[in-house]
């Protein structure tokens, strides 16, 4: 159970595939337009349940609870040996 007041992410469908604009590429046309919003959980809830959050600007948004205490996992990726080669090449030419 995720407690009321926890910072969470919700997912919702803005437009179902059939409701989407008609000028989309075929691959996109088959998908729903999804939205992810973060906020404070308004009532206790479970992952996967339909909940309401209060966002940073104080708005209420509704959707499926997907994650509690969401963090960012961006990083510098795996080693890319070519970048080291570029470094050696350009320095070697000067």
């Amino acid at each position: 159970m995720i407690k009321k007041g926890t910072w969470i992410t919700i997912e919702s469908v803005v437009l179902k595939a059939a409701e989407r604009a008609h000028n989309l590429p075929a691959d996109t046309q088959k998908t729903d337009l999804k939205k992810w919003v973060k906020g404070y959980l308004e009532e206790d809830g479970l992952i996967g349940s339909f909940v309401t959050v209060k966002t940073t600007t104080g708005r209420l948004e509704h959707g499926i609870l997907t994650e509690a205490n969401p963090s960012f996992d961006v990083n510098y990726g795996s080693y890319v040996p070519e970048l080291k080669k570029i470094c050696e090449q350009v320095r070697g030419l000067l």
Binding site: A21, T28, G77, V80
Partner: protein, 473 residues
Amino acid sequence: MKNAKDMSYAALMARRSDIMKSSLGIDYETYERGSIAFDYEAMMGFGGYTFEDVRRIQQNSAVGDTPLIELKNITALMRNSAKPGKGARIFIKDEAGNPSGSFKERRASISCHHAKKMGFKGVIAATSGNYGAAVAAQAARYGLKCIVVQECYDSNKTGQPEIIEKARKCEALGAEVIQLSVGPELFYVFLALLEETGYMNASLYTPFGIAGIETLGYEIAEEIKKKYGRFPDAVVCTHAGGGNLTGTARGLLHAGADKTVVIGASVDLTGLHMASDVNFNQKSFTTGHTGFGMPFATNPDRSDVPRSAGRPLRYMDKYFLITQGEVFYMTEALAVLEGLERGPAGNTSLAAAFSIAREMDEDEILVVQETEYTGAGKHPQAQLSFARENDIDIKFGNPKDSVPGKSIIFPDSPDKIQAIEQDLTRLRKSLIKNKTAGYSLGNITPEDISFLADETKTDEVFVRVCLEELSKV
């Protein structure tokens, strides 16, 4: 439910015009002229901010006056492959020095100042780029609430590392971030939020969004003139939505640099559809590319305001494309030869400049007009390893053999960095075709002809010949 508005896609889009008017305070209809013309300069005067006002607003919010740095080592590297007497000096305007790390803060500063002045409680911007952080930073300074709407994930919720980093930065600066899967209906979400909150539309394409960049062109002209006694011979701008080049060129003209050649540069992503769920994560550049650069050049009013203030073909003298591999290569060179870890997307203009400067005389001066911050996710290593995970073939060779979405090819030597010049006449004709679609020759007024000449930096003869050609098709 009492007074519940119809939020269906069609109903909300039908309210678009009213939402735009109340969220901007600009009545675009007052600028309309002729059949297709509008008074661009009158629109640019909206809000009544003079150039000096814009400078003062920016100086009060720590924006602008960034260092202009001569890239002596990169110039030397470029001259290795230049003919005798050739190879212009390359300078770069280190716009990463703005509070949120990019030139976009120049644009945000005026919008946020105006929002505060007009009593809006907050601002909303639709952007997956640096502009989100710029608006968040300036909103923070002005005590405004801020919502940033991003296209961020494919339908499996796999995100572009570069865009996720920008979401992080927006949140770090106190903004609310709304993330969407791929698709142009982001505009629907954006409109719904404007209607719900009553916040100001801090679009990139309002007159404020462009006036804010004029200071950048002006600073470049003034600083080069002060140090070297003349204006720069060429300025290269990364071109996507058109605002960067438009504002920079207007600033150069404001300083009197009317002989400076204004050059646009975009990353070539030909073949990748910008609204494709599958293609979304096959590209390693989320801005500065042809997916925006071509359509926004030839049809600037496809933006999120009725009339875009970013109108690049009014100012562009030359336009070059460069590949993803070449930009990554130059990003690495900038770090290891000049000690400037920046970009990568903002280095699109640098990569093109490396090739353009090679053909210029050695006593000429070329300025690359921006850098941007780099960080986790938004970094060559993060983006290239993400590309590898998405089965993109990454190798050395001839960059011209690369296929966007399939391969990224680093030049196997710097002389292989070759920006490809585009046919501006073709783009200008395309703009005229787009603007006159649905009109017969008889409906096009002399005012329209004059407008189209301004829109394409040509003359009325060019426009008339083009219209004749179109009428025969």
